[in-house]
């Protein structure tokens, strides 16, 4: 298929399938059937509530700084849904949705933001890397892992999630360029949420789109409506299939909007007004999907109520479990630094125990 030619970033077209009113742009129909779509909607309801819960826990002093996904759920759910189990995910720090989609337990995510390293331990077999705080540095790892898989002859793909701000970093550039040269099966998913903390997208780069940065690397690029589940899914699926069959990398720019603060440490009123946000509100990715599902008779207030209640119950249970996890032991901060503890670390550990 010629999706990446049809929507070559320099043609100035954003790829869309689902209109804000919940109807489809084309007669070709939806790429997902009703059951899948409803299931993903359910996931998103859960994610949004889990996200809000984290914000609340932080405000109550029960969690550290947290970076909410609010508004970007479709970018992550739609793209992660295009992946397979053995594929590798390299998140930045706002990837609650992608992580849950890949099978990371919510409890693990919460533990991380509560300040426990156990929250960076993915279950065996789930290849979701820990949060990467240093912006723009982890796409290199995604390229390396994809490259290794290619050398080994394994048909897996990797995906790195990052923001518009990350594209300004040198490491992003080196990663894209290496991916281009070695045709690694890696996908660069940029969630352009219009801000890097307070810095608006247009101060981040003079490039008209993020997608067109792919031109610098001889890599395919596409700009998609990041609040449109079908478009995100379709573009990512295309990129995944291409990567898996040896066609190399793709840069996907999902155009979206961060509804919440940058993190719980941030006060967005310092740099954006309510009016600025106004046009984005009706574009809420959940609203759009709800309208679509309603049109197809799959959504009602009752359905919403049931999904919400079920999710809320599960989340409350997870919070309980996460909060029951004890504070790490003294040993824990020493014993994972090397495969085998060095004499220095043993000595330092004994000293710490003696002076606690």
């Amino acid at each position: 298929m010629g999706l990446f030619e049809d929507y070559h970033p320099l043609k100035g077209k954003m790829f869309q399938m689902l209109k804000p009113d919940g109807t489809l742009y084309s007669e070709m129909g939806a790429p997902l059937n009703d059951q899948e779509t409803l299931q993903l909607y359910q996931k998103m309801v859960f994610i949004r509530l889990a996200d809000q819960k984290a914000l609340m826990l932080q405000r109550q002093g029960r969690m550290g700084t947290y970076a909410p996904v609010w508004g970007q759920e479709v970018c992550q759910v739609g793209s992660a849904y295009a992946l397979q189990r053995g594929d590798w995910v390299f998140p930045a720090f706002r990837e609650l949705a992608a992580s849950l989609m890949m099978g990371i337990p919510l409890k693990t995510v919460y533990l991380y933001w509560m300040g426990n390293e156990e929250g960076s331990r993915a279950p065996e077999g789930i290849n979701v890397m820990p949060v990467s705080i240093p912006v723009g540095t982890h796409p290199l790892h995604a390229v390396g892992t994809a490259w290794a898989a290619k050398i080994r002859g394994d048909k897996i793909v990797t995906i790195a999630y990052f923001g518009d701000g990350a594209t300004s970093k040198g490491d992003f550039h080196e990663a894209m360029n290496l991916a281009g040269v070695f045709k690694t099966p890696s996908i660069f998913f940029c969630q352009n949420n219009q801000f890097a903390i307070s810095v608006p997208r247009k101060i981040q780069t003079a490039s008209e789109t993020i997608a067109q940065k792919s031109v610098a690397y001889g890599v395919d690029g596409i700009q998609v409506d990041g609040n449109d589940l079908f478009a995100v899914y379709t573009a990512t699926k295309e990129a995944v299939d291409k990567a898996r069959s040896g066609g190399g990398s793709t840069l996907i720019e999902g155009v979206t909007y961060r509804f919440g603060p940058h993190t719980t440490a941030d006060d967005p009123t310092k740099y954006r007004t309510d009016e600025e946000m106004e046009p984005w509100k009706p574009l809420d990715p959940l609203v759009r999907l709800r309208l679509y599902l309603k049109e197809r008779g799959l959504w009602s207030d009752d359905v919403e109520k049931r999904l919400t209640e079920e999710a809320q119950k599960e989340i409350d249970q997870v919070v309980k479990e996460a909060e029951a996890v004890p504070v790490p032991e003294v040993e824990d901060i020493f014993k994972y630094v090397f495969a085998e503890m060095t004499p220095q670390l043993k000595e330092q550990m004994e000293y710490l125990k003696a002076t606690l």
Binding site: G64, F93, E117, D171, I203
Partner: protein, 325 residues
Amino acid sequence: MARLNMVEAINLALREEMERDKRVVVLGEDVGREGGVFRVTDGLQARFGGERVVDTPLAEAGIVGTAMGMALYGLRPIAEIQFDGFLYPCLDQITNHIGRIRNRSRGRFTCPLVIRVPYGGGIHAPEHHSESPEAILAHTPGIKVVIPSTPSEAKGLLLASIRDLDPVIFLEPKRIYRAIREEVQEGAYTIPLGKARLVQEGRDVTVIAWGAMVREVLNAAEELKGDKIDMEIIDLRTISPMDVDAIITSIRKTGRAVVVHEAPKTCGLGAEIIALINEKAFLSLQAPIERVTGFDIPMPLLKSEHYYLPNPKRVVAAVKKVMSF
């Protein structure tokens, strides 16, 4: 004279110096409209405009590399790196260019600039937001490294750093950004770089610290009051170049020392201080010098941060150990 915390004191220093010296520009991520994630540059963009207080793209090497270019041309850039953990991408520019250009061009090109970095742990920040890379910087030729320990110190040291003819890395201990409030003089005053501060005179043992650790040491001194140990406390202020005389003079008097820092122990600045004392006051030493430091591990996440950070209890233990040798 107003009672200010360190954030306010630094903000005041920046504001006053920008008024005074049109060459001074501030650049960094979120320093403008947002006023910095710690509000250190709050109000500066509104006052001096977007050309002198610049929100940059997210690119640390880019920020300090362009700051160097500005300084070459005669401006006095003050670059902010948002957190200590994001200084690493700048080390190439700092080591291979900024710290060398005066020397390699035999003084023909210079780059006086300041790189401000909120630094260190203790505020339950996320991963990579609580690092102490000062020893790496102190090992790097051609740059100065300054770390203030109180608001009024911060103002005087920052002004001296901005006016210095050489590049200065100014590490701001974020743990005491708002924890200490004190009288801060208005108007320009500078505290000379390279000179330590005698925080407290004493005769039994010299405790050497800088930045947020000075407060921990003072708290330890409080705890030790009953023990009749007469502690001398030195705040290094500038860790590169170090005030060796102040250290040696004190050791000659006390014969005992404890060094306190947050950075990992091995190859931390504590080692250098011990080596200097070994070289210059060997015969005065009456006990091995103790180090109270972070550990040789990545800074833990917030639940375990307290394990890592030096605290008054550990300082007390070290002082007692040194005294009872």
